[in-house]
Amino acid sequence: MRVLESMVDTHHRTPGYIKGRVGRVEALSGSFYDPEDRAYGGSGLPKRELYLIEFGMLSLWGLRYRGGEEDKLLVDIYEHWLEPAGDPAGPRVDHGF
């Protein structure tokens, strides 16, 4: 799955450093009120599915990363921030599901 690159300046819970990056679904974390709506007094409905997405550290950070190929980063991301990865951008990119 690819994380949307959207640079909104309203409240959202997608860290900037994974925007536009490709990872794989590690687990389903459940469904929760939509924080982007609840943050402004809304009901947070409909609830959003939350996915635990796994990224390879080296594919995220490249040479900045001081560690091995095996290291991973996991982040919970709401469904509306994810899209199918389609054609993976390169050999180091983890496959979507």
């Binding site: 819970r13 450093y17 924080p35 550290m57 095996e70 991973k72």
Partner: protein
């Protein structure tokens, strides 16, 4: 960095002066007293809001005190108990990983509304480290408030990009044979690490195991203490 509130706990002496004209904590000293304190503007405004909310009936007069007591009763020892139980009882461990809420209820921790606890397991080949880069999400309902370093900008910015460097500062080093997995708890789940049971603890009683589990090992910047070799 002086951020204004890294001061000794307040002794609530009747004569203690607070809320003076000083806007800059740290420039106000009574020689010889450790409790010398000047509350910052946000601190005073918080206390003002609390008083006003009580007067307006938005909250009850005892609500804050009641919740302070609840919070004060939580500590990493609760997390340590859960870990020790999981080490002792493989079936409990599976339930803890699958459905932490139900597993915690079994051992006497009532479900807390709001965020959901998640547990990630360390093994000989996998080590988890927890951070919240966007704010400071932490399994507070079980472990109590997070330590200062967990909320620090250095930890929040560095843990996701240099976990091995961060762990080294805490005295923890893993070889390439161990996969480091950083969990950035950005949403509704609050992650606790189930650390690897130390070697040489076979046959130890649950209470003895509890004593080995450190708070830092529940976040992943540490590992449990080793048992004493010659007790």
């Amino acid at each position: 960095m002086n951020i204004g509130w890294n001061r000794p706990a307040i002794r609530r002496d009747p004569g203690l002066t607070m809320g003076s004209d000083h806007d800059h904590p740290g420039d106000h000293h009574h020689p010889g007293t450790e409790e010398d304190i000047t509350l910052s503007q946000p601190a005073r405004r918080l206390l003002a809001m609390e008083e006003l909310l009580v007067e307006k009936g938005v909250i009850g007069a005892d609500d804050v005190r009641r919740v302070m007591d609840v919070i004060a009763a939580r500590s990493p020892v609760d997390g340590a108990r859960v870990v020790a139980r999981a080490w002792m009882d493989p079936a409990f461990k599976l339930r803890l990983l699958e459905d932490p809420r139900a597993a915690l209820a079994e051992v006497g921790y009532p479900p807390v509304s709001g965020s959901k606890l998640a547990v990630v397991e360390n093994t000989e080949r996998v080590h988890h480290l927890v951070v919240c880069s966007l704010c400071s999400c932490y399994p507070t309902s079980l472990l109590g408030p997070p330590p200062d370093w967990y909320k620090s900008f250095a930890y929040r910015s560095r843990a996701v990009v240099d976990p091995r460097g961060v762990m080294r500062e805490f005295g923890l080093e893993f070889g390439e044979g161990v996969e480091v997995r950083v969990v950035d708890s950005a949403a509704d789940l609050r992650y606790m690490v189930l650390p690897l049971r130390p070697e040489g603890t076979e046959g130890m009683a649950e209470e003895e195991l509890v004593a080995l589990v450190t708070r830092d090992s529940l976040v992943g910047v540490g590992v449990p203490n080793q048992p004493a070799v010659n007790p």
